[in-house]
């Protein structure tokens, strides 16, 4: 048995274990006495340093958790791509909104060939259009002539983000027409129109969500925090707003928009209408959260420290509910996009010449096109993809926003 090195106790009739135990006790005593206060302090600060390293911030935890959810990552990437394309829509779209190829109306989607004679050189075949002499039906024939695609070439002019003039497009088909999603009744390229329409559709959502989030946050938190008569009034207001049947309300409100308004004005009016209805959900959720948070000890502590209501709301309650707000935002964006689409589809929202996905779908609003020209419905697929992407992203954020539960 190895002796613990220490002065040791005088050994009476102690057995070796008892002796060892006493020796260890003595060692602790020595150790404590040797250390002065400064050393102890250094140790404590070292301890909290180590703890700080160990404890990562809430945002790091949220990110780590979010990263594990593959569907959410995929959703996030898709959403990002959509907005990126929408932002630089003029560059990605080969043609402007109103560039018409009247001859090639209702042209089916063209196949893009990538390999030409063993080299990577994308091309489409030239289209020859005419009418069937007997039925007068439009027919498009593919000829053998190749139209090569040129990348980063000049085409229709536009302004980047409405500021800088440019005429460079991602791809062009000099001497012919490239239409990967076909053309519509007036011979306009569907792909260009979808890309350009994304600008309106996606940003109506963004703008509308910002508006309804502000309404929802302010009213929801005020309602939960102050309670009493304020709560009563806001909750009844929410009930009234929710009690309105949505579509007739939209119809009434958009009928009230003066017909003479400019495109931009109508556009903002439509988002305003959407957000005036959309805020109630967030307000209810936040009220519930704040109702429980305002009873928590840290809010009481803030009040004891003399913090004002404003300070408590902005320093403590809004950060505490931020996760919830972000989640509601991502989940209500697709709702906004869908609402715009349905409004425009019904002819109540945006009208041509503004082009949004809803407007595109409205133009395809008849049985004949569904049967003969199914490609004019391609905006629907584009919408489905982005809505799904938003839902995956929102789900991932919701799961990640509370990183402390397993």
């Amino acid at each position: 048995m190895i002796e613990a090195n220490s002065m040791g106790q005088p050994d009476h009739q102690l057995d070796p274990i008892e002796k060892q135990s006493a020796a260890l006790r003595e060692l602790y005593r020595e150790m404590i006495e040797e250390r002065d206060a400064r050393e102890v302090e250094a140790e404590i600060s070292k301890l909290s340093e180590a703890e700080a390293q160990f404890a990562v911030s809430q945002w790091t935890m949220i990110w780590r958790r979010f990263r594990r959810n593959k569907a959410a990552i995929a959703g996030g990437v898709v959403v990002f791509l959509y907005y990126f394309v929408a932002l630089f829509a003029d560059f990605f779209a080969p043609y402007a909104l109103d560039t018409r190829y009247v001859e090639q109306a209702y042209l089916p989607p063209q196949r893009v060939h990538f390999i030409d004679e063993g080299k990577l050189k994308p091309f489409v075949y030239q289209i020859e259009s005419g009418r069937d002499p007997e039925t007068l039906k439009k027919i498009h024939k593919t000829t053998d002539e190749k139209v090569y695609l040129d990348f980063f070439k000049k085409g229709d002019t536009y302004k980047v983000l409405g500021l800088i003039e440019s005429d460079i497009h991602l791809f062009q088909a000099p001497g012919g027409l490239v239409s990967i999603l076909g053309t519509d009744r007036q011979g306009r390229d569907m792909f260009s129109r979808i890309v350009l329409g994304a600008r309106v559709s996606l940003f109506v959502g963004l703008f509308g969500v910002v508006l309804s989030l502000s309404f929802g946050t302010v009213l929801g938190i005020a309602s939960g925090y102050y309670g009493g008569i304020v709560d009563e009034i806001i909750q009844r207001l929410i009930e009234i707003v929710r009690a309105f049947p949505a579509i007739p309300l939209w119809m009434a409100l958009s009928a009230a928009l003066p017909a003479g308004w400019s495109q931009i004005k109508t556009y903002f009016a439509v988002t305003l209408i959407l957000s005036l209805i959309g805020w109630t959900w967030l307000a209810r959720q936040l009220r519930g959260l704040v109702l429980s948070l305002r009873e928590s000890d840290y809010v009481m502590a803030a009040r004891l420290a003399g913090a004002s209501d404003t300070r408590i709301i902005f320093r403590h309650l809004i950060p505490a509910t931020l996760g919830q707000i972000i989640v509601v935002a991502t989940l209500s964006l697709p709702a906004m996009i869908l609402a715009e689409t349905s409004l425009s589809f019904l002819g109540l929202g945006l009208r041509p010449p503004i082009t949004s996905w809803g407007v595109l779908l409205q133009e395809a609003q008849n049985l004949q096109s569904l049967a003969k020209y199914p490609w004019v419905f391609s905006p629907a697929i584009v919408i489905v993809i982005v809505i799904l992407a938003f839902s995956f992203l929102g789900d991932g954020l919701r799961d990640a926003s509370d990183p402390y539960t397993i």
Binding site: A4, I17, Q20, A22, L27, R29
Partner: protein, 335 residues
């Protein structure tokens, strides 16, 4: 299994998957629980006391944890021995055992009782489920149990809801619930931590009386050394997922052999100690669970000077019997 024992835990290892990697919550725990004895399980927070209890009950969260190695042998009332680590955690066997032959008292009497059901219903549920009694008989039995835990006017209180009970009464109701099926093993996970000292004393007293009456073996988990001193026959001291010392209560309190146990005992103030002596906390801190020191996990904090190389041996330090019934995991006692 040794006929003296009702529960034998051998080399139990439990792993937890976390975002930062695998944590070995329990890293080779072995102990025996004899019939009718009280074993105290002490140690700092996070050393694996509760995890041990939950693995015996097979109540570990399934998605993030798993029993990686080891055996938990349990003798049922009918004499059959079962290795609980291989039992389906949702199967009928473990459900027959839980609440019936192994019962648990939780730390939080407030959250462990359902606010939607009367105390009587909650006690009767276990009785009807395990003993196969009818509603009438179960109610009689529940009243008896509440009487046994000294809830006056039990016949009336049986129809009360948890919020109508005081904290001490709730804890007593929990104990009644745990004991109503006469379990051979009772796992008490910090049963008195939420209570004030007078009630604490009453509850401990009660547990001891009931133990004598029903002949249950108790595993008492706590970091309150006073409670342990009051209750335990034997004490197992845990540090970072390992048992570092097991001995009878007197030995652990009078002459503990492991440096950690010595430090633990020294850091408790003694009642009636007239001298103004300083407390002697164990220096250093519990290591990060992801980087448990190799060899003896305690060696960076150990006060012994000129530590032998065996302390850092990655294969670990074995538990050796230094005197009859006194096991220590320390190189000081290596043969």
């Amino acid at each position: 299994m040794n006929p003296e024992n009702v529960l034998e835990v051998n080399d139990l290892e439990v792993h937890f998957r976390t975002l930062d990697g695998i944590v070995r919550g329990i890293n080779g725990v072995s102990f025996n629980l004899r019939n009718g004895e009280t074993l105290g399980l002490v140690g700092e927070s996070g050393c694996g006391k509760s995890v041990t209890a939950h693995s015996i009950m097979r109540l570990l969260p399934r998605r993030i944890s798993k029993i990686a190695a080891g055996e938990i042998w349990f003798r049922r009332q009918n004499g059959d021995d079962h290795n609980l680590t291989t039992v389906d955690p949702d199967g009928s066997l473990i459900r027959d055992i839980r609440g019936n032959e192994i019962a648990m008292i939780f730390q939080e009497p407030m959250t462990s009782l359902s606010p939607l059901h009367t105390i009587g219903d909650q006690i009767m549920e276990a009785i009807m489920l395990h003993q196969g009694l009818g509603k009438q008989e179960a109610e009689e039995h529940a009243v008896e149990m509440l009487d046994a835990v000294r809830i006056g006017n039990a016949r009336e209180f049986i129809r009360s809801y948890p919020h109508q009970y005081s904290g001490g009464m709730r804890q007593r109701a929990m104990i009644a619930m745990a004991l109503c099926c006469n379990p051979q093993v009772l796992l008490a996970d910090e049963p008195t931590t939420a209570l004030d000292v007078t009630i604490q004393a009453q509850i401990l007293d009660l547990m001891r009386k009931l133990q004598a009456e029903f002949d249950s073996a108790i595993i008492m988990i706590t970091h309150n050394l006073g409670v342990i001193n009051e209750m335990a026959d034997r004490i197992a001291v845990m540090y970072l997922g390992k048992i570092v010392e097991i001995a009878d209560r007197r030995t652990v309190f009078k002459h503990p052999a492991h440096p950690y146990t010595v430090g633990l005992m020294q850091s408790v103030p003694e009642m009636g100690d007239m001298q103004k002596t300083r407390l002697h906390p164990i220096p250093g801190m519990i290591p990060d669970p992801f980087n448990v020191p190799q060899g003896c996990a305690f060696h960076p904090r150990c006060p012994v000077k000129n530590k032998p190389a065996a302390c850092m041996d990655p294969s670990g330090v074995p538990l050796v019997e230094v005197e009859p019934g006194h096991m220590v995991r320390c190189t000081l006692y290596a043969e």
